[in-house]
């Protein structure tokens, strides 16, 4: 690992956070406004939800009791994974992510992707997580203050020495 970091150290994209730099209560967030174009691009790429008109058609969404088309859950997850991955740096690794979809995320919602460090597992023996693991609560928060997506992630981060 040390060698990897030395090689990467000269690249500004390799901003690496070490396990020792993390503390319970650390919080970070980025804004996200999912667009119709983003959803359509993802559906075209994956083929998933392609036959579910509620994800791109306003009338179909309204017929299903929703104000606007739905953003498929996996896109929200990818955004939360990206939030965490970018915060960790390239040598960090997501071990698991559990999310609960509490309400629909809709096109053009003004969202905040939020993460909060809830535990650091320095001893490596907590609930089967390896040394250097960090637990974070992650969420999307909309303009009404609701959290349509809530979850928790366990990541593994490199130590400084």
């Amino acid at each position: 690992m040390t060698g990897d970091r030395a090689i990467l150290a000269g690249d500004p994209r390799a901003a690496q956070r070490a396990f020792e730099d993390v503390a319970v209560g650390d919080r970070f967030e980025v804004p996200w406004q999912p667009t119709h174009a983003q959803v359509v691009a993802w559906v075209k790429l994956t083929g998933m939800f392609a036959d579910d008109r509620r994800v791109f058609d306003l009338e179909a969404a309204r017929a299903g009791g929703l104000d606007r088309p739905i953003v498929p859950g996996p896109i929200s997850v990818i955004m939360l994974e990206r939030l965490v991955a970018d915060w960790m740096g390239p040598l960090g690794r997501i071990q698991s992510l559990t999310v609960s979809y509490r309400r629909a995320v809709l096109h053009d919602d003004r969202l905040r992707c939020i993460a909060l460090v809830i535990d650091v597992h320095g001893d490596g023996d907590y609930e089967g997580t390896p040394e250097g693991a960090v637990s974070l609560d992650v969420s999307l928060e909309n303009e009404r203050g609701e959290q349509p997506v809530l979850g928790t992630a366990v990541v593994v981060m490199p130590r400084r020495d």
């Binding site: 009791g65 104000d67 990818i78 559990t98 609960s100 629909a104 969420s139 928790t152």
Partner: protein, 406 residues
């Protein structure tokens, strides 16, 4: 503690017993310690799993390690919404099928009391699953109800305000709970008791005692010198149109039970550089481990790897279908992703899916049926690369132009 007051979160779900919770009891205990370190008064919490109570489970030793109180109750689902029961006994459990989503509320409150416990109306102001709406719309008399959770961390101010209105109008008592499903929500709302609470018996005695002094409050307001926030108002806010569309009751659940636990191959795909590039382009992913050959060659994997979510970028064949006969609208309720190994260009990934469980419960939108599926992804070496568990929900909805707007 500096006085005899006890600050307890009365409404918490954990991954030990609630399918939609991600917080562990030990994780919650660490969060209690972290909140205390920030000057907040927080003595412990009550684990109230959904529709499930294990008489043999005991958190007392774990709680002692953190100098905290961890008690247990249950959240059941009744014909006036959800209800917390504290002091659950075998006699209580003998009387009810806790998995039912429409237990008779008056029986639940009466039997809880007669068997030495106490029942509390949960998140009173929520559509469908709080008692306020059933009082307002159906004239429910709240037979045997003495305590309502008026301050709930999962409810908005409007919903909590409605619950406080009911409490004041009916001369009921109010408590607070976070309804936490994940660690950082723990204690957001809690209850301050003017006495020492260390056991379930202490808690039940307090809630049954009309002279006992207790009140709901926000965790932030427990700091020394903090100004107490006023209780939420009932001023209406725009609720999502999806709220309150379905009913709570209905026919017995029908589905094909033969598919449960049977794993079948649902497809395969090759991880290519083109697939990775398309995935990254679609969602503006710029992590150089996925997009820059030269950078990735010097990184931890010695070359480009796929983003963790790549398995979801390929449509597999249909997973086994339990043919649930309920609802007209479905969507995802939750997912769990486990990543074991990176997927690299050239890997051939096979997917194997199974249905783990089918069950029902109630929420803001009424009755819901959940299907849990697990898909395991393995590479050409037979190694598991990732696994995804997806819980989908089916419910009844109405078009917005047909009275569906809440």
């Amino acid at each position: 503690m500096t006085d005899d007051a006890t600050y307890l979160d009365l409404h918490v779900h954990s991954s030990d017993g609630s399918d939609d919770a991600g917080g562990t009891v030990e994780g919650y205990l660490k969060w209690v310690a972290a909140r205390r370190a920030h000057g907040m008064r927080f003595d412990g919490f009550v684990v109230t799993e959904h529709r499930h109570f294990d008489l043999d489970r005991d958190y007392s030793a774990l709680a002692a390690r953190y100098d905290a109180v961890v008690l247990r109750g249950v959240e059941v689902e009744t014909d006036i919404g959800h209800v917390l029961v504290f002091g659950v006994t075998p006699a209580f459990l003998d009387r009810f099928d806790l998995t039912s989503v429409s237990l008779p509320y008056d029986e639940v409150f009466r039997v809880a009391w007669e068997t030495g416990g106490v029942a509390v109306g949960a998140h009173g102001g929520r559509p469908r699953i709080g008692c306020v709406e059933h009082v307002d719309e159906r004239g429910v008399t709240l037979e045997g109800v003495t305590v309502v959770e008026a301050l709930n961390g999962g409810s908005n101010d409007y919903e909590n305000g409605r619950a406080f209105d009911l409490v004041e109008a009916r001369g009921l008592r109010a408590v607070g709970g976070s309804d936490a499903h994940f660690v950082s929500a723990l204690g957001s709302c809690l209850t301050r008791f003017d006495r020492v609470i260390r056991t379930t018996d202490d808690l039940v005695a307090a809630l049954r005692d009309p002279e006992a002094r207790y009140e709901p409050m926000y965790l932030e307001d427990t700091k020394d010198g903090a100004e107490r926030r006023p209780r939420p108002s009932g001023a209406p806010v725009a609720l999502p149109s999806s709220s309150g569309q379905g009913s709570l009751g209905g026919d017995a659940l029908e589905y094909d039970r033969t598919v449960i636990g049977r794993e079948v191959k649902v497809g395969e795909f090759e991880v290519t550089r083109e697939l990775i590039a398309s995935f990254c382009a679609a969602l503006d992913e710029q992590n150089p481990l996925y997009t820059d050959e030269a950078f990735a060659a010097q990184g931890p994997y010695g070359g480009i790897v796929a983003p963790p979510g790549i398995a979801q970028a390929v449509r597999m064949g249909p997973a086994p279908n339990p043919q649930v006969k309920f609802g007209n609208n479905g969507m995802m309720a939750g997912q769990r992703f486990e990543y074991y190994l990176p997927a690299r260009p050239g890997d051939l990934i096979e997917g194997f899916a199974q249905v783990k469980a089918v069950y029902e419960k109630t929420g803001r939108s009424g009755r819901m049926v959940f299907v849990e599926r697990r898909t395991r992804y393995a590479n050409q070496h037979g190694e598991d690369v990732a696994a995804v568990e997806t819980t989908s929900v089916q419910r009844e909805t109405k078009p917005l132009d047909d009275g569906g707007s809440a």
